[in-house]
Point group: C2
């Protein structure tokens, strides 16, 4: 199901960007003097909350759908996802005239479930564990013959996510000292690490993770893969464990992983909404929260912060 | 107190833009395919929610402060405002090293009161009527000797607000068929009408107003100035009545005024937050709500929609 361990090359990323560019939004890079003052560093926010489907996931899903062999694609595509990849794949499939079958954990936010339905995909719910997701997906695949597009453990998806920092690098005229990127399953982080390795050799990449879903941090510190088990964090996009493809990429290339508390994630999300007037989801806030809570590490630095998405249930906000 | 009836000229607006440009944010013009589909028209959103102080008001306040005679400015500036002009003047004063004294109605949103305090201004509260505001302001002026910067009935403020559409006209490469602009006291609308008259002669300007604070609509239909009296609308920025300077400008130049319900304002605000991932305040939503509710009028047109601001109490949202 995982198409083998094939690390995207420099040329793969350049080609992926050319392939998906007509379909994706070029998302803006924003700055905030207020937040620069708070952090003591110069921050550049890559705003994937303005991406189609509301998150960076649309890059990877679109690249994977466009690279599918026509025969393979005939029965549609399927995946499991807690939300943003589900929306992204449903939208990418619809735009390309394919059927989409999505396995979602039964605790997925209602607003994400509704969006997936709206994009015309068929949803099957399962228990919120990696095992249940993968078993349910295997059943769907057998029943429909749809091609599996894994949310992160797929080189075509990683290539697509790599275009986020690649695009940002074309928008700004310098290499940031540090790139900070949230980590859940590790698709965005893997893509970001590869783009940095190939195109921004003088930039460090730091991953940001919730303390309550710190499987990547634990894995890095223990130097072996440690999966998470049904973690509870408000950053619902970061609950998933790393994959067999993303873990070694991260282990070999990431400078460090910093974690942050639930309270800090909520406060940071509120700060961004109030001061920047943009809607980011908790997973995005994790990256900035790490900068705010590790001020000495970032002081005086130019930092690229990846805001991964903006899909939030507006009727259930964490500060109400 | 109102510096006489002096209509800003074409040259005044060009000069105002040059004067305030180093101090203001160039706010983006955004589009949304989803909302275009809903309305059947092509919409271009001028996003003053990204302006300093969170609203277009900073343009007018900055222009007025920069144009003040040095002797007049020595004792600081004062005004009355339900919120956004207060924040804007407090910030413009602080940046130019002046004291600011602000009269606010006692029902002003707490989040706006806090922002004004944070910018270092001194606040005096009064009853939420135009008479109480003006009387309290007169007292403050007498006590402090500060120069009054009226929130809208001031040609320097109107010049500043005129730069919003002027800037937008430089950002887009066509003249919209229709410009739609919310109306409260009429400062932004007056500036917008003058810019359209001088620089976009082929564009119609439509004003948008809450049904629950429809003094401008009533005045236009009756062909005489009818003030509002403590109106209740969620669009707190649009509660004020027109002024002696803004009313004749509007009467002579506006194509029409459309009104919209409270429910529609809330639904439109939710739509923008959910789909565009940007935070607008209810007053901004009024403009788009009018487009959504008058579909035949706008169908097939290119429409410039002015999002006037984004200052919202995130802990008290109307859909919770």
């Amino acid at each position: 199901m995982f198409q083998g361990i094939k690390i995207p090359t420099k040329e793969n990323i350049i080609n992926a960007f050319g392939r998906i560019r007509p379909y994706i939004n070029e998302t803006p890079v924003l700055t905030s003097q207020t937040i620069n003052k708070i952090t003591g560093s110069e921050l550049f926010f890559k705003c994937e909350n303005f991406q189609k489907g509301g998150a960076f996931k649309y890059r990877g899903a679109t690249n994977a759908v466009l690279k599918l062999d026509k025969q393979l694609a005939a029965n549609g595509v399927c995946t499991h996802s807690s939300g943003n990849h589900a929306q992204a794949l449903a939208l990418a499939a619809r735009i390309n005239g394919l059927s989409a079958y999505i396995v979602m954990p039964e605790n997925a936010p209602q607003v994400k479930v509704n969006a997936v339905k709206e994009y015309g995909a068929q949803i099957t719910f399962c228990k919120p564990t990696l095992q249940a997701r993968e078993e349910t997906l295997a059943e769907i695949k057998q029943k429909t013959g749809a091609a599996v597009i894994h949310p992160y453990n797929n080189p075509d998806v990683i290539e697509g996510q790599a275009t986020c920092l690649f695009e940002m690098n074309q928008q700004i005229n310098f290499h940031p000292d540090i790139v900070i990127c949230p980590v859940g399953g590790g698709g965005l982080l893997s893509g970001t690490l590869l783009t940095a390795k190939y195109f921004l050799t003088d930039s460090k990449v730091i991953a940001a993770e919730p303390e309550m879903a710190n499987d990547a941090w634990k894995s890095l510190k223990a130097n072996r893969f440690i999966p998470s088990d049904n973690p509870q964090t408000i950053a619902d996009g970061l609950k998933t464990s790393l994959g067999t493809l993303t873990w070694p990429l991260i282990q070999q290339n990431v400078t460090d992983i910093f974690t942050t508390s639930e309270q800090s994630i909520i406060e940071t999300m509120y700060l961004v909404w109030e001061r920047m007037k943009i809607i980011i989801e908790p997973s995005s806030a994790v990256a900035l929260a790490v900068v705010i809570n590790n001020r000495p590490f970032f002081t005086g630095k130019r930092v690229a912060v990846i805001f991964s998405g903006g899909n939030v249930d507006l009727k259930h906000l964490p500060w109400n």
